[in-house]
């Protein structure tokens, strides 16, 4: 009998019972909650006269609707304000661990979970948010759920799930200078396609993944969902354990030792069999830029925009011509010829301290180009912001003409006031380039923090390696 994958191991540890057709009742260790996908779940619970099963498993935070400018005036938009106040009330009445808008620990749910040690290796972690895949960087089985499932976890601590298939994405070799975790995951999505991981849990492995920091691994797992997989995983190693140690909610003392011993088992067995294996050569990955309206529409910065004729099937040709029309770019134009209007450095993909350091390191005394109307830097949490300020990164950004903001999801999805106007083009470190994602009619190009920073300074895309 062959060995087990990391996914097999975590799955088996969490099955409470199974139906005849294999549908399992899966136990959930950590439930992260934010203001957008929870109000209807809390309401459903109350209407059915049910109590939450285990409130100590829940950590709540406001992130999607919060303003990134001065917060002393509150939230101007009454609809957003009501949603935030609804979580304030629910957190209070159900007595949840909650980071409200004024808490220094507030931030994007997928940044603060790991930061607080709420995310631990071997856990099952869910949240009403597709980027929950982020937490898989810790060797935790983490995936996004809808609001009905949020209510289901609240009421029962479990979810009804069918087991996914196992995919291994191995990135062998060493990444070139100036090539980051974001480029790796965009290259992976470019290779497997935006639905390539549908039905799978993806384990990311290989020497290039192992050499990434936890921040880098979170960036990779974060975008597993953009490749179609609800969950991404990276095996536990010393990097994982060093990151978790001494976090506020991490185990301490004897429990820490016992936990570490258990966590060291969280790797796929050498003889584990994957249903699908995809291999990339790290040395071949160059800085990536998306050109279209799906994350799979991506290419190297030194390439040209593709033409519909470059694709072999009619559905893809049609998608390409729709995308070019929406994006307002010409087939065959060099990616570096594309001028931008705005820059967004932030989101659950790229707003951690390492991302901000990477973006700041590109500046070297230069200023944001004249054609760039707005260059936003939005730290992922209050604590990331504080650390960046201690390192003087805020000054580097501000002196160069970037705006230094308060933490939140911000212009990744534009639920707050930060958004693109129709036709505006943005170099963005976020995760989705869908039509209208950053504002109706807005045009998004996904890049790494270094590439976004370089684009801000140049006014168009440039290869950060020669900038």
């Amino acid at each position: 009998m062959s060995g087990k994958t990391l996914y097999d191991k975590i799955w088996e540890q969490h099955v409470v019972r199974s139906e005849e057709d294999g549908t399992a009742l899966l136990y959930i260790d950590r439930h992260l909650v934010h203001e957008v996908t929870s109000p209807q779940a809390f309401e459903g619970l109350t209407l059915a006269n049910r109590q939450p099963w285990r409130t100590s498993s829940m950590v709540a935070v406001v992130d999607h609707n919060v303003p990134t400018t001065d917060r002393s005036a509150g939230i101007a938009d009454p609809v957003s304000r009501l949603q935030v106040e609804t979580l304030d009330k629910n957190a209070d009445s159900f007595k949840l661990q909650y980071f409200n808008i004024n808490d220094v620990r507030q931030g994007i749910v997928h940044v603060i979970g790991p930061e607080q040690g709420a995310t631990l290796p071997g856990m099952t972690v869910v949240c009403g948010d597709s980027h929950t895949a982020t937490h898989g960087a810790f060797g935790a089985l983490a995936f996004g759920i809808g609001t009905s499932e949020v209510e289901h976890v609240m009421a029962t601590q479990c979810l009804l799930q069918k087991k996914m298939k196992n995919m291994l994405v191995r990135v062998d070799g060493e990444l070139g200078v100036g090539v980051t975790a974001k480029d790796v995951v965009l290259a992976i999505i470019g290779k497997i396609g935006t639905a390539g991981g549908t039905g799978y849990t993806i384990e990311f492995g290989g020497s290039a993944i192992q050499s990434l920091s936890m921040e880098g691994r979170m960036t990779v797992c974060n975008m597993a969902i953009e490749g179609g997989a609800r969950a991404g995983l990276v095996a536990v190693d010393q990097t994982t354990i060093d990151y978790v140690k001494d976090r506020p909610m991490a185990p301490k003392g004897e429990q820490w030792d016992a936990a570490v011993a258990a966590w060291r088992e969280l790797t796929s067995d050498d003889d584990a069999v994957f249903d699908k294996v995809v291999v990339l050569d790290a040395a071949e990955i160059e800085p990536q830029v998306t050109w279209g309206t799906s994350p799979e529409m991506v290419t190297g910065v030194n390439s040209a925009v593709p033409a519909p004729a470059d694709f072999d099937d009619a559905v893809k040709q049609n998608a390409c011509s729709n995308a070019l029309k929406y994006m307002g770019i010409e087939a065959k134009a060099p990616m570096t010829s594309i001028q931008i209007d705005k820059v967004f450095i932030g989101s659950c993909t790229n707003s951690r301290i390492e991302d901000l350091r990477e973006a700041a390191s590109v500046i070297k005394g230069r200023r944001v180009a004249n054609n760039v109307k707005l260059a936003l830097v939005v730290p992922g949490s209050g604590l990331v912001k504080k650390q960046a300020e201690q390192e003087g990164l805020d000054k580097l950004f501000i002196d160069a003409g970037f705006e230094w903001r308060e933490p939140g999801c911000s212009m990744c999805l534009a639920m707050n006031a930060d958004r693109l106007e129709p036709g505006e083009r943005c170099a963005s470190t976020s995760n989705r380039n869908f039509e209208g994602r950053q504002g109706a009619g807005g045009r998004t190009h996904l890049v790494s923090p270094a590439m976004a920073s370089a684009a801000a300074l140049a006014g168009h895309f440039v290869d950060v390696r020669s900038f």
């Binding site: 057709d21 856990m123 499932e149 601590q157 935006t194 799906s294 639920m415 989705r432 209208g436």
Partner: protein, 212 residues
Amino acid sequence: MKAFTQVSGIVAPLDRSNVDTDAIIPKQYLKSIKRSGFGVTLFDDWRYLDPGEPGQDHAKRRVNPEFVLNQPNYQSANILLARENFGCGSSREHAVWALDDFGFRAVIAPSFADIFFNNSFKSGLLPIALSAEVVDTLFKRCAEDAQYSLTIDLAAQTVSDTQGWTQQFDIDPFRKHCLLNGLDDIGLTLQHSDAIKAYEAQRAKTAPWLFA
């Protein structure tokens, strides 16, 4: 949950792949704390020519006459036809609520994104995966007949038209059982409370830090 047994109706063809949940229901409408009222802003950016905001009177907005759902014969469509990877992107169940609120009871596509697929069943919206070839045939029939209709029989797991064309589809037996009977998932799970408690007691011994 609403039960699903048999549904017949007009098929609205949305000829796009990778229809994402931002397209199905844009972010500004997710600020609502309710489950209802999303139908009028389903596919908002494609359906209207001017930008929309929550709370406005959408009847006064400029409608995009090109968009399929704005064509008179599709106003009462209850089956949506689309290309591969329907519902990709965000986990927002609002996408399902919007389709349901518009009047759709089923979506037929070659494939669905996993989270959307799961969410659909929670509101009694049936996602049916048929091969790309079959879906292509259905698009052709819609192009030939603006009133093209299908009947979906969940118990028999068939999709059929009035000219004798029939196709089988797959569905997990457990999901089928819940959907046919309109069962409440949470109520079902709570019948296993003892098993959950026993699991917790055992797990607390082997991994006590998870219950600290």
